[in-house]
């Protein structure tokens, strides 16, 4: 379980997250929605320890991410996929995927690379396994990014606007993989702008507005009268649908 | 006082050496700027033969040790041309040539930093090549060149130390003399090093100040 209580985070004078309480249980797919600047990405960056939190507590399977000793355990349990892929430019797709298993989990190189190929095969990159990131399209890069996160067999997958740097065609190839993962029971925290897709795969929606969690509802409730009763949610949904 | 100890006079000796180093640095830099810029202008006008010659000489000077250049001028020229070359003359010739080669490179890229479109626009307005060079290119190129030039000058201060090898009484030569007399190498070379260090810092500081003033001139001041 990922448990977030009383999370506060500010950058200088700007408070980005202001008292967030959220729990994500094994098997859930939680989409985090909200307009840009609402603090969605920062939330993910707090969970994986890339940002130091100012107050509150975040634990991943009871490991406290603000304690350096426990952070590495917490990180082993969660995998992150980034908006801009952040692949290692000097390594092939296979090497990108196999690096952490080899170095962190001490999996023998041969085995790790075989598993990496398997993963790449499952996302349709069998042919591109030995290509370097610069030789791949955006959608292919992001698929490698997903494999890299999955290679650590994480309990939780953290997805930070993973399609916002992609054009529509590539977006759909990435989303279809995520849908498959969701169906397979992977726990996901999904920060996104893709409302319709979020609706189709999530069990729950968390809605952030100006650093506060103003809705945390089962998906069907969020998109029905319960959600619409919240003015900010209604406003957000109607605006997003218009675009 | 035992022979071999430091005397108060040694400080004057060191400062004298520093003076010689500085004088050679300043004079050869000025000569280098004139020659280097002239070479760059030759390239700008694409003067045939001369342009290739200049590029070749600059490459040769940039890619060979200053010490060897110094030996060629100080030992080689007198033997070859049967002329007399004093250590100071050899130092001035070598350091000027070496500075010129590096300043040439900076000047060329500074000229190139001024966009071709500007030069073409100026030509459309009927400016002559010389007018374009003076009114359009020179002011902008100077602003561009100050940064790299400062870096070069800090380096050239240090290059002057090599003339001690042919016997010019510069700061390093004074260090050699004091080193032999006092047999206190750590003290002597630390003092010498410190003086060079301060000089280099002074050049860096002056370059930054100059750049700031130049930029203030060219900066957009609003309506």
């Amino acid at each position: 379980m990922i448990s977030i209580t009383g999370l506060r985070k500010s950058f200088g004078a700007a408070t980005v997250l202001n008292g967030i309480d959220l729990e994500i249980r094994q098997g859930e797919v939680v989409s985090v929605l909200g307009s840009s600047g609402s603090g969605k990405s920062t939330l993910i960056r707090c969970i994986n320890g890339l940002e130091k939190i100012d107050a509150g507590k975040i634990t991943v399977d009871n490991f406290d991410v603000s304690k350096p000793r426990e952070l590495s355990e917490a990180r082993k349990r969660s995998g992150t996929v980034f908006q801009l892929f952040n692949l290692y430019p000097h390594m092939t797709a296979v090497q990108n995927v196999a690096l952490a298993p080899i170095e962190v989990l001490k999996v023998p190189r041969k085995q790790a690379e075989a598993e990496a190929r398997e993963l790449l095969h499952s996302v349709g990159l069998t042919e591109r396994a030995d290509a370097y990131p610069s030789q791949l399209s955006g959608g292919q890069r992001q698929r490698v990014g997903i494999c890299r996160a999955l290679a650590m067999k994480p309990s939780y997958l953290l997805l930070d606007e993973v399609t916002s740097a992609l054009d529509p065609e590539m977006t759909s190839e990435v989303l279809s993989i995520l849908a498959k993962l969701a169906k397979g029971g992977t726990t996901m925290v999904f920060v996104t702008h893709e409302i319709e897709f979020a609706r189709s795969i999530s069990s729950r929606i968390a809605f952030l507005d100006k650093g506060q969690l103003i809705a945390d509802l089962p998906t069907e409730d969020f998109f029905s009268a319960t959600g619409m009763a919240l003015p900010r949610v209604a406003q957000f949904l109607s605006k997003m649908r218009k675009d | 006082m035992r022979y071999g100890d430091f005397t108060p006079f040694d400080i004057i000796l060191l400062l004298q050496g520093l003076g010689v180093s500085l004088a050679l640095f300043v004079s050869t830099t000025l000569i280098g700027i004139v020659i280097g810029t002239a070479w760059a202008v030759i390239r700008f006008y694409r003067v045939p033969v001369l342009m290739q010659l200049v590029t070749f000489i600059a490459e040769l000077l940039k890619n060979s040790p200053v010490l060897v250049q110094l030996f060629l001028v100080f030992f080689g020229l007198p033997a070859f041309l049967k002329i007399n070359v004093t250590p100071t003359e050899a130092a001035v010739i070598t350091l000027s040539g070496n500075s010129a080669a590096f300043i040439y490179v900076i000047a060329v890229s500074a000229i190139e930093s001024v966009g071709r479109d500007q030069i073409e626009a100026a030509r459309v307005f009927g400016l002559t090549r010389w007018q374009i060079l003076r009114r359009v290119i020179a002011p902008q190129a100077t602003a561009f060149a100050i940064g790299p030039l400062t870096g070069l000058l800090v380096n050239q201060v240090q290059v002057t130390s090599l003339i001690s090898v042919i016997g010019v009484m510069d700061l390093t030569k004074v260090g050699n003399i004091l080193n032999l007399r006092t047999l206190k190498p750590f003290l002597v070379w630390t003092a010498v090093g410190l003086l060079y260090y301060l000089t280099a810092k002074l050049v860096t500081y002056a370059g930054a100040r100059f750049e700031k003033r130049l930029r203030a001139h060219t900066a957009w001041k609003g309506l």
């Binding site: 992150t80 690096l99 170095e103 | 060979s64 040790p65 030996f71 060629l72």
Partner: protein, 223 residues
């Protein structure tokens, strides 16, 4: 006086011996400055203010004091504190220390140019700091730094001529001996100048090839 190179023919083996010593010293100094440059460069980019400051001081000192002064400091100074090493070792050590300052600057900008997102990806996948440095930061920074490192190493070759001032008969030192034996300093130093230029030119071609080889996958449309 006529320009006669044939007189040098019988001295070529001796000069080649000197050239070999130069290459030997430079090869060792390249390794030395790479190692030092990596350590100092890593310190310079580390989060610890103390390490950062120490590295900055190191770079500042050795970049702003002439190499010949540094060399004399070690050559005359070390025996003073009971360390007796030969001229060759002293030269290699001094070259490595000075080269390390320049190398670390290159490494530092190579590290700073890495997309922080790539490092974050490595952090969240649970890699240890040392692994991130070895497997991610270093390979990326080194690939990007091949050309500027090449310039540093070419400078190292040119600077190594100064080792002749501490009785080391490397290329320049041997040439000095030949010049005084043949009374043909002009020819000798002219050939020497061309030899250094050819040597550095060859090295720069090798560096270009290495750069293209190491970055062969980064060419096409990298983000």
């Amino acid at each position: 006086m006529k320009f006669d190179l044939s007189i040098l023919a019988k001295h070529i083996p001796f000069l080649l011996e000197g050239a070999w010593l130069t290459l030997h010293a430079c090869a060792l100094a390249v390794v030395g400055s790479l190692v030092l440059g990596l350590v100092i460069g890593a310190m310079r980019t580390s989060a610890s203010p103390l390490l950062n400051r120490l590295a900055a001081v190191y770079i500042d000192i050795f970049r702003n004091i002439p190499f010949i002064v540094q060399l004399f400091f070690f050559y005359f100074g070390l025996p003073e504190i009971g360390i007796y090493i030969d001229a060759f070792t002293t030269g290699v050590v001094a070259l490595s220390i000075a080269g390390g300052a320049f190398t670390s600057d290159v490494i530092r900008s190579g590290i700073l140019a890495i997309d922080p997102g790539v490092i974050e990806a490595a952090q969240v996948s649970g890699l240890r700091k040392i692994t991130i440095f070895r497997k991610i930061i270093l390979p990326i920074a080194l690939r990007a730094s091949v050309r500027p490192l090449g310039s540093v190493f070419i400078n190292l070759i040119l600077t190594s001529s100064i080792l002749s001032t501490i009785t080391l008969n490397e290329l320049t030192g041997s040439a000095k001996i030949v010049a005084s034996n043949t009374f043909r300093p002009f020819e000798v130093y002219f050939v020497l100048l061309v030899a250094y230029a050819a040597l550095t030119y060859a090295v720069s071609i090798l560096i270009g090839m290495l750069h293209r080889y190491l970055n062969r996958h980064q060419e096409e449309g990298a983000v």
